[in-house]
Subunit: 226 residues, 2 copies
Amino acid sequence: MKEGPDIARVAALLGDPARANMLTALMGGKALTATELAQEAGVTPQTASSHLAKLEAGQIVIPRKQGRHRYFTLSGPDIVEALEVMMGIANRVGHNRVRTGPKDPELRRARVCYDHLAGDMGVALFDGLSKRKLIKTDLNGVALTDAGVDFANGFGIDLAALRQNRRPLCRECLDWSARQSHLAGSFGAALLDRFYDLGWARRMSESRIVRFSAEGEQKFRELVGD
Amino acid sequence: MKEGPDIARVAALLGDPARANMLTALMGGKALTATELAQEAGVTPQTASSHLAKLEAGQIVIPRKQGRHRYFTLSGPDIVEALEVMMGIANRVGHNRVRTGPKDPELRRARVCYDHLAGDMGVALFDGLSKRKLIKTDLNGVALTDAGVDFANGFGIDLAALRQNRRPLCRECLDWSARQSHLAGSFGAALLDRFYDLGWARRMSESRIVRFSAEGEQKFRELVGD
DNA sequence: TTCATCATTCGATTATCATCGAACTATGAA
DNA sequence: TTCATAGTTCGATGATAATCGAATGATGAA
């Protein structure tokens, strides 16, 4: 006992409902102000301020001052990873929130998972790219095929730039709502960016929902080979 | 807000020091009894029982009754993953436990990370296999090379059997003590098993420490090309 | 059966912490 | 300057939950 790093301190910081709501909101990838986070968490600004001070002291979030606002972001990809894993666990053991709001169906359909597409359409994307043999999955994980490289270039994705990053190009990410994998990694993020740029989809404000336009969805269906 | 699975409930279960200590102990891979876990956590049996009831209700651990003992194990690999990620975060932000016991140096040298080798020697293994080009790391992660496959067969590892499993063969796992990657996945686990079988090393009881014999260490050094 | 050990339940205590009202500071706009 | 908004600090309140002593049930050993 008394071995190693202190998990409890980190876990306790994620273990309060108000803080968990804030962090989940920050998984959207956008920096949010203290008041926005207070609303997300459903608490008063005073309470939110106290929570944010704790999260900041624990180096879970990083504040950035701009004018009279303070914008908060998650302190690193490891935080995202931790939240993702815990969502997977919570989903597996059936720890869903008591009230599932009206936004729930849309969320399960298409949402942003920090920077890539998740939900049913995220899973469809993964399956579609696999079926078209643009990505392949083996025991070592997911990888882009030669055909996939050609596709990426044709689709307007600069693979060379992505490779600059230390981050893996392709990564599986367990989708808590669909119980299947969707595509993460820098390639997954780049795909979603292209969907935005092409006008196929856009982020709903104040939410993780990704809404596709009619044409956008049709193009998407063609892409995944439906 | 009010979207998705309830992270907070899971995180709160991991967020108590006593429970975190218990779970860390279970990362050793062995099933432990309630009293053993009470000792690990540094609390009385009554308190431990209360914690274990909570963990069981939250499906974080699974009890198995045997005689008058109750043996507990982690409920799935996702729990291990969550604990690992949180250790990484805790280490990054410097949340180490206040008292670092006398076992600390040995732990940092060689310990079991659920089922594979971690610590300095775990990192040395990863580096050694890379240098000998038995494994390779690219943007898609770690993979066994052709030479690596030959090596595994010669070393007494049944890759065909490992492939039965859905689990990835090779996986990087961030070592919290060395701040570098060591080798996880079913191949990583199989390697450690062989070290045990060959008598190179053995598990210390009541701890995650892996202790190498003198000859064992020498063989290990040859293996990693020192 | 009798005894010892493992584990749980109950009850009481204690400490921690989330919460919010009120007051205060800081920044920007008019 | 004056006003409005963003955010924090302080203090009080209330609820939750961790802890352990004592008692109870359950299993195996003698």
